[in-house]
């Protein structure tokens, strides 16, 4: 559309291919290659093996992957529940307090993750609540960091819902609880899934707050990967990073396949 000449188009595509290749293609290929590198003394690995993956699956790393998945799932579920609650409850408020609380719920996304972790460490290493060294403090850190994003997704979804459905349900005599369960939440499902997916992905890659608060018994995979690469075991680190990315993408793919009533009704 913009460029009509054949050479001009080829030039534009060439620039795109070069940029995309250098910025995204080469890093992806190289980390994938490193994860299956048997020996790497020259520019490229001399032979390939799946050894790093095999080690990953039966060592500490398998436990760390499980820790990451559990942390991500629990933190995301809690964030989705409370985020939806907050977004739904805000609809009852007048515009001025609604705007204020909207900003309050978004605020955790603005604070650096390391500072969130530091805050939890300072707050829960003393009375009245001692959580330092527990699994719970890691899950709390993840929940705080992702809560703004789940809230944002759900409230964006709510603002896009056609209001007629709820009005019709109300006029037919549906009580608030029944309306929420049978009308609003089913319509919101796509946004709830999107919120859960985004927060799960964020939690799986989280380093900053986790590294501040994690106890020895609850090491997430990113923290484990950092410990490995810091010791110079970069190939094992690459294999685990690939494993983390693939697991995340599989979960996201699975979530995107969940059929939702809202979609089937429209389509």
């Amino acid at each position: 559309m913009l460029v009509w000449s054949r050479t001009g188009r080829a030039g534009a595509w060439g620039v795109l291919a070069l940029l995309f290749g250098v910025v995204y293609g080469v890093p992806l290929v190289m980390i994938a290659l490193a994860s299956i590198a048997g020996q790497w003394n020259g520019a490229l690995p001399s032979h390939l093996s799946l050894g790093h993956y095999a080690e990953a699956l039966d060592g500490d790393s398998a436990a760390q992957l499980r820790v990451s998945i559990v942390t991500g799932a629990v933190a995301s579920a809690v964030a989705m529940f409370l985020g939806s609650w907050a977004a739904l409850a805000l609809r009852n408020l007048r515009p001025a307090p609604r705007r204020l609380f909207d900003m309050v719920f978004f605020l955790p996304s603005a604070v650096p993750s390391v500072s969130v972790g530091l805050g939890l460490l300072v707050a829960f290493s003393r009375q009245p609540l001692l959580l330092n060294g527990t699994t719970l403090i890691v899950i709390i850190a993840h929940f705080v960091l992702i809560s703004a994003f789940t809230y944002g997704n759900v409230s964006a979804g709510l603002s896009r819902l056609p209001p007629e459905f709820e009005l019709v349900a109300a006029s037919l005599g549906a009580r608030p609880g029944y309306r929420l369960r049978r009308v609003t939440l089913p319509l919101l499902t796509p946004y709830l899934i999107a919120a859960f997916s985004l927060s799960f992905a964020m939690s799986m890659g989280e380093v900053g707050a986790t590294i501040m608060v994690y106890p020895p018994g609850w090491v997430t995979l990113p923290v484990g990967i950092f410990a490995l690469t810091d010791r110079g075991e970069v190939f094992a680190g690459a294999a685990l990073t690939m494993l983390l990315a693939i697991t995340t993408l599989i979960v996201l793919l699975g979530l995107s396949r969940i059929p939702t009533k809202a979609v089937t009704r429209q389509g």
């Binding site: 603005a110 969130v116 997916s197 992905a201 890659g205 590294i211 990073t241 995340t248």
Partner: protein
């Protein structure tokens, strides 16, 4: 006895308290306990609340150290350079994907978008295999030119962090850009083109003005995210490249100096909150929900 007065009084008393508004209390209390309460304690500790009178003396001490000043400077330089890089790269790539389309252009756009779901340190780790001292580039150059030492060490300078952050955060700019480009009427470009406007002129006079809200929103979001970025800086682990989040981690976890960590964290939080206000201002001004941002 049937006087209407008490009824009216109770009605006026009841009216201001709408019970449905109380539903907001539970999530607010959770966030208060888990987010705001810790923040207040960071502030308290940075002011010396542990046993002595509150004062700014720790700020005076920490802010005067070259270590802190270097970290602040690095944080700002890296954030600004990365955001400018994200905007440039995102604009060029979104431009070609939208206006010089080819089969598979949507696939490329989606692939770039999936980078949002990947851990940020993946790119930092990948970079060590490309630009590191034993990486693809250095080993190839050493083999080709028979060099004794790796010639390229930009990965361990701020530039390495900047390039990694550009890779990670460009998708956050491309989302709103692609959304705003899809709103431009193709006929507008075709008419301009048939009237003799060249591609550069069309970009300057039609596409760029339409993209400004998306660029501003994406750019301020990038600034916020890059100021707060920790994983990339940690994984590249260059000795000379220390940012505020990394310094907070170093002080608290490596040196157990919580008071200094709290002072630096407060400065970092203040910087982040001002960038966040800028972002919200831009989004409110230009309608970010339409620009594809949450």
């Amino acid at each position: 006895m049937h006087s209407p007065a008490p009824k009216a009084a109770s009605a006026t008393l009841a009216r201001p308290v709408d019970l449905t508004t109380l539903w907001i209390a539970p999530p607010l209390l959770v966030l208060g306990g888990l987010f705001f309460y810790p923040l207040v304690l960071i502030l308290g500790q940075s002011l010396g609340s542990d046993g002595s009178a509150l004062s700014l003396r720790f700020y005076a001490q920490v802010l005067a150290t070259p270590l802190f000043q270097g970290a602040l400077l690095h944080t700002i330089v890296i954030a600004v350079a990365s955001s400018v890089g994200c905007l440039t790269l995102g604009f060029v790539m979104a431009l070609v994907l939208s206006f010089v389309p080819f089969p598979g252009a949507r696939g490329i756009a989606r692939l770039i978008d999936t980078f949002i779901a990947l851990p940020t340190f993946l790119v930092a780790l990948a970079f060590t295999f490309i630009y590191g001292s034993a990486g693809l580039l250095n080993m190839s150059l050493m083999a080709t030119f028979h060099l004794p030492l790796p010639p390229i060490d930009f990965l361990y300078s701020p530039w390495g962090v900047i390039l990694a952050e550009i890779t990670v955060y460009t998708p956050f700019v491309m989302r709103p850009l692609l959304a705003s480009f899809s709103l431009i009427e193709p006929a507008q470009i075709e008419v301009a083109s048939s009237l003799g406007a060249g591609p550069w002129r069309i970009i300057r006079q039609i596409i760029l003005p339409a993209a400004i809200p998306a660029l501003l929103a994406g750019g301020s979001l990038c600034l916020l995210l890059t100021v707060n970025e920790f994983g990339i800086v940690l994984f590249i682990g260059a000795k000379g490249v220390i940012t505020l989040p990394l310094l907070v981690y170093d002080k608290a976890i490596q040196e157990f100096d919580y008071t200094t960590a709290c002072v630096i964290a407060m400065v970092n939080i203040a910087l982040s909150l001002s960038l966040y206000s800028l972002y919200r201002l831009v989004v409110a001004r230009f309608g970010g929900r339409n620009a594809g941002l949450v």
